[in-house]
């Protein structure tokens, strides 16, 4: 499988490690009143779609950037690759 890195171009997926669902970018506020239930949800609950899935990949044997990869779990076709920091900022995580 080849991942088309937004900065470095096509790279072998062997250079990457997989973390999981891209929703992990949205870490709950630990000071929230219902932080325990939010973290239980964050830590354990995942959708398991047969189809398009947004997921976090780490370019461990490359430039060590985090990527958000949109991949079909049934065909492994990759339709979009973005830097996770761009996604996080766009979704209001850090500015």
């Amino acid at each position: 499988m080849i991942i088309d890195h937004p900065l470095l171009g096509p790279r072998d997926s062997a250079e990457f490690t997989y973390l999981g669902d891209a929703s992990l970018i949205h870490r709950p506020d630990w000071e929230a009143k219902d932080a325990i239930s939010q973290f239980a949800e964050y830590g354990y609950q995942r959708d398991n779609p047969a189809g398009t899935h947004r997921e976090l990949w780490f370019h461990e044997q490359g430039d060590r950037s985090w990527l958000v990869v949109t991949r079909s779990t049934t065909t492994h076709e990759i339709t979009q690759v973005e830097l996770a920091r761009d996604v996080a900022r766009r979704e209001g995580r850090s500015t």
Partner: protein, 186 residues
């Protein structure tokens, strides 16, 4: 007085040189290294300072520039700077002084071992070692990849001159991998 002797990354008294099939593999001990990472919010100043220090525009993703210092891209707003150790032993200190609070500079001199390969069939060697498209490279490319499970930088000066930077504590393993690939490919 301690009677200490300097040794190379491979443990020798002088840099090791191996030649096989027209390719020469040389251990390079005369390289000072410093990593340079712009701090959040001061990227512009950090980049200006570094560009002045190396006397060239900074390298973009996957690129290296050769100037007063050599500088290759490691990640967004991060570069590794290399210079001859004989004349720039305090490279990190000098860059840090210039950058002030705009960048984080870390000395990397003893973290890496460096091997220089020269010859005219390097692509055949590297296609056994790592997924780097050396046949498409013409000079000026640099990237981090995995060679025998070791995170290494592969830096291309021209099609017949390639440098590998690898973890110094695994210098022997990396040298073995490079030499084995040379013997297999050439």
């Amino acid at each position: 007085m301690s009677d200490m002797m300097p040794i190379t990354a491979l443990g020798g008294r002088s840099p090791r040189v191996d030649t096989h099939g027209g390719v020469t593999l040389t251990e390079n001990t005369n390289t000072a290294l410093a990593s340079y990472a712009a701090r959040l919010g001061s990227e512009e100043k950090a980049c200006t300072v570094l560009a002045e220090a190396i006397g060239r525009d900074l390298a973009g993703p996957g690129q290296v520039v050769f100037g007063t210092f050599d500088a290759f891209w490691m990640g967004p707003d991060q570069w590794m700077i290399a210079a001859p150790h004989d004349t720039h032993e305090l490279l990190a200190f000098e860059l840090s002084q210039a950058a002030g609070l705009s960048a984080s500079v870390t000395e990397q001199n003893d973290a890496w071992c460096r091997f220089d390969l020269t010859g005219n069939r390097l692509a055949s060697v590297f296609e056994l070692l790592c997924p780097v498209p050396l046949r498409d490279w013409t000079g000026g490319e640099a990237t981090r990849t995995s060679i025998d499970h070791l995170g290494c930088f592969v830096i291309c000066k021209d099609v017949e001159t390639v440098t590998v930077l690898g973890p110094r504590s695994s210098a022997g393993s990396l040298h073995h991998a490079l030499l084995t690939a040379m013997k297999a490919a050439l």
